[in-house]
């Protein structure tokens, strides 16, 4: 008997309307107060290929991917065999029993729950397309009975979903009832796995990271968004535009206080962002790996010409087109050192939708303050799946930090304006927006070497001086990016992670605790790394670094920027394109302890 604790997987065909039905399922559980996490595993294709939708319900609030499946709703003939195979022993298989199951597909260690879905719908709906769509709703109805979901919550979901298209509400509810009725009549309900209303979700919300990031840009004061469609980042720009149209329109005129341009490609998108940022507007683009590659020449320009461009990189599995609908954390090196020559870029690593919002907004302050590109490094797993998140909040009265910008009055007071003078010793000069003053403060921006007064030069000394100042600015950046989040109980070993590798961490740590492995933790939020990161590493004998790429890219950054001995960092890697699970982390760490013959007891450091 298990309450509020299971993984259910829906195996469907994409383009068949299943995603919205499955989302309703997840959201209904959420509305019953359960912590739920969803993961949509979809193909790079529009219609007709296999897709899976995992919903994890966890009484303890674990939101990471789990390797095992307790309930399989197997609706795709093409993957039926593998779907049945991946069900955990003791699990429940829900299938369409209109045709009998082939003998070789049957398993004795699971419970098979057949429903003649096709038959049920055949009698109810004439239209073949409708039958397809309502099939998903029908199994949802059955699940409500099987899992003991409050029915009015589900019907409420339908009402929310089809608000404005009211004609659809009744047939959907009818379909729900067909499923529920069949289950109540013919199946033993509820199953030993079921749900029960709790208050665990609290005031939390369910939202995807991209929507939150789009809202972050909106609240952060972005006025120019230039983008080019690419999975999994498209919905960032779409969310920005959607909410800006609602919340950022001039009162009387109805005119827009923002501009969204779907550019012809990523080169153009970043160029627009840089042009707008140079001209004093907060601007951003959203893209994924291939876009970062294409933007790299421009990113070098922005670094050297000192332009506050903001980029949201929603990472997907590379290299090249790779697996565009799978998740990874694999663009760290290409983003951190994007462009030829000696370049370095500021990165932020959100772990939750709320951080997508907050860091998303903060990017603009940082970019303006540091006069350099800032890249938000999120990924498909966080960006495109609905996750449980604390509600988004904004402190009214918070001002934007526009950085060192001289107004006409400021310029009047300045003897001789020098764009690249390091007046304050923090490596950051003062800039002016075009058109500020009739006589003072105009300068020529270029990607070529110049002196402190922005005059072109090829002098080795002037060049080197400028490059050293940029390193000073880098140092300043390390103090401004969000600090790492640390928990410490004085263990000998630590574990370090970032972004979505944090999601399975509470569960992984609990699993490890059970094995008497105790670790202090550090979650990286920004690059360049603050002192606290290096101190944490120094304070531990060795530190695990968890990441979702093959080449241990965060480790590379840590070692390279901090002059660390790489031997002290032990990589825990997963790069299969699904999100890393607690099981994977636990297994690799456990293995390491065994191999290194390390003791597993808490050892408080002397």
């Amino acid at each position: 008997m298990s309450i509020n604790d299971f993984v259910i997987r829906f195996a469907n065909v994409n383009g068949s309307g299943s995603a919205s039905a499955n989302t309703m399922f997840a959201k209904a559980l959420f509305r019953m107060g359960l912590p739920v996490a969803t993961r949509n595993i979809f193909p790079s294709n529009i219609q007709g290929l296999p897709t899976w939708f995992d919903v994890r319900v966890s009484a303890r609030g674990y939101l990471g991917r789990r390797e095992s499946v307790d309930i399989m709703v197997a609706m795709n003939a093409a993957t039926y065999e593998e779907d049945v195979a991946c069900l955990s022993p003791g699990g429940y298989l829900i299938y369409d029993s209109t045709k009998p199951l082939a003998r070789h597909l049957r398993r004795s260690d699971i419970t098979e729950i057949g429903m003649p879905l096709a038959d049920l719908l055949l009698s109810e709906f004439e239209d073949i397309k409708q039958r397809g769509l309502f099939k998903n709703i029908t199994y949802l109805g059955a699940l409500s009975a099987l899992l003991d979901i409050e029915f009015d919550v589900i019907t409420g979901m339908v009402a929310t979903q089809y608000k404005g298209k009211d004609a659809l509400i009744a047939p959907n509810i009818a379909a729900l009832e067909i499923g529920r009725g069949y289950a109540q009549r013919y199946l033993s309900c509820p199953l030993p796995i079921k749900v029960r209303r709790v208050e665990a979700a609290g005031d939390r919300i369910m939202v995807d990271g991209n929507t939150a990031a789009g809202l972050g840009a909106l609240y952060g004061g972005a006025t120019v968004c230039a983008w080019y469609p690419i999975t999994p980042s498209t919905s960032v720009a779409e969310a920005f535009e959607l909410y800006a149209n609602q919340l950022r329109v001039e009162e009387n005129s109805g005119r827009r206080k923002f501009a969204v341009v779907q550019a012809e490609d990523e080169l153009s998108a970043i160029g627009i962002v840089i042009g707008a940022a140079w001209n004093g507007a907060r601007s951003f683009t959203a893209t994924s790996g291939p876009g970062i590659s294409l933007m790299s020449e421009f990113l070098g320009l922005a670094y050297f010409a000192e332009i506050p461009a903001v980029i949201f990189d929603v990472q997907r599995a590379g290299p090249s087109t790779g697996m565009p609908t799978r998740t990874q954390q694999c663009d760290l090196i290409s983003a951190a050192y994007a462009s030829h020559g000696d370049t370095k870029h500021v990165l932020l690593f959100p772990s939750t939708p709320k951080e997508c919002f907050e860091f998303g907004a903060q990017c603009f302050d940082l970019a303006d303050r540091l006069q350099t590109p800032v890249i938000l490094m999120t990924d498909l797993d966080l960006g495109m799946n609905d996750s449980l998140s604390d509600p988004l909040t904004w402190e009214d009265g918070r001002a934007y930090d526009r950085g060192k910008v001289l107004s006409a009055e400021d310029l009047e007071a300045v003897e001789k304006f020098g764009r690249y003078l390091d007046v304050d010793g923090d490596g950051i000069g003062y800039r002016t927006y075009p058109g500020t003053h009739p006589d003072k403060g105009a300068f020529f921006t270029r990607g070529t070497s110049r002196d402190e007064y922005a005059a072109y030069t090829e002098s080795p000394e002037a060049y080197e001086k400028n490059m050293r100042r940029l390193l000073r600015k880098w140092e300043t950046a390390s103090k401004l990016v969000p600090e790492a989040v640390i928990t410490s109980s004085g263990q000998r070993a630590g574990i370090l992670y970032y972004g979505t590798s944090a999601t399975p961490m509470p569960e992984a740590l609990d699993l490890l605790e059970e094995e008497d492995v105790h670790l202090d933790t550090l979650r990286i939020c920004g690059f360049p790394f603050g002192k606290e990161v290096y101190k944490f590493i120094e304070d531990h004998d060795f530190v695990f670094v968890v990441e979702q790429n093959r080449d241990a890219q965060m480790k590379t950054l840590l070692v390279n920027e901090g002059e660390l001995d790489p031997a002290r960092l032990v990589s825990i890697l997963y790069y299969g394109g699904l999100s890393i699970s607690a099981d994977t982390i636990q297994a690799q760490i456990s293995e390491y302890f065994t191999q290194q013959k390390l003791p597993r007891l808490t050892e408080v450091k002397s």
Partner: protein
Amino acid sequence: MTFVAKPRVHHPKLPVNEIGLTRRDYEGPVSTLCAGCGHDSVSAAIVQACAELSLPPHKFAKISGIGCSSKTPSYFLSKSHGFNSVHGRMPSVATGANLANRDLYCIGVSGDGDTASIGLGQFAHIVRRRINMLYVVDNNGTYGLTKGQFSATNDKGSTSKKGLPNLNEPIDLVSLALQIGASFVARSFSGDKKQLVPLIKAALIHKGFGFIDVISPCVAFNNHQGSTKSYDYIRDHSEPVVVTDYFAAQEEITVDYAPGTSEEVHMPDGSVLCLQKLDEKFDVHDKVHALNYVQTRQAQGEVVTGLLYVDPDASDCHEVLDTVQRPLNELDVDDLCPGNAALEMVNAGFR
């Protein structure tokens, strides 16, 4: 010793324009281009046009790509900000600049390499986006800064300095701009200031995308016999189709063209373009016709110059996007941030 000084001539009594400024206030530091380079004449024409229009010299944004041509924004309008960006990407940077502040006059300067090769896609798409700007190509048929390779506007059969013929068909930027839908299209010659200055003025005042393809010879690499972009060749083969005079809103119109061949185009700000059509049949408001005309003459070896198309009522990007009148870069947190109450409503939608 080699002394290469281009001294700034002093005019003790320079005339002042309507806002009390002299030509000098629109100039820039001494150019580092080759003596005789066509590009310097284009810069001079821009200076003259801006001064005559009495526009405030700091209210410009000068954007360019990379190349000798793209260096020129540092040699005019030194009171305004300029941005020498990366090769072929001026259009996108100019787009951003214009989106951020619609009140600035935006001048983009590019080369034929910068626009017709690496930048062709961006060029076509900025036309589509209808950015309100003057887009000038200093077209010399060669890559000046990298020392004389053929560019994509170099005519088939035109020879290199070493005498080798170009084997590829040229890309004609004027035809491209017409065909993709630019609302102001002209071609001119750096050596013909009389033609060029009014065109620059008109393009600056035109609300929408103003494109001028300026044949601007490269004395270092493409001014020899055999080149079809040399001073001599263009003087011989340019065929002006329309003579344009620009008159500001209050100005008295002082030209008097023969009836039938002339036309007054009224710009939204009240200024007037007086056109004298040298080919009676030419219609400056019909882009299909203009394209056909240019292509037909080109096939006959003629380089059509002058104003080729103008739609004085064109809309620009800000109209299409319906943005507020105030420049976006002036809006601050009070204008931009919807505040926490709105966010709570947003949160509610996620429950």
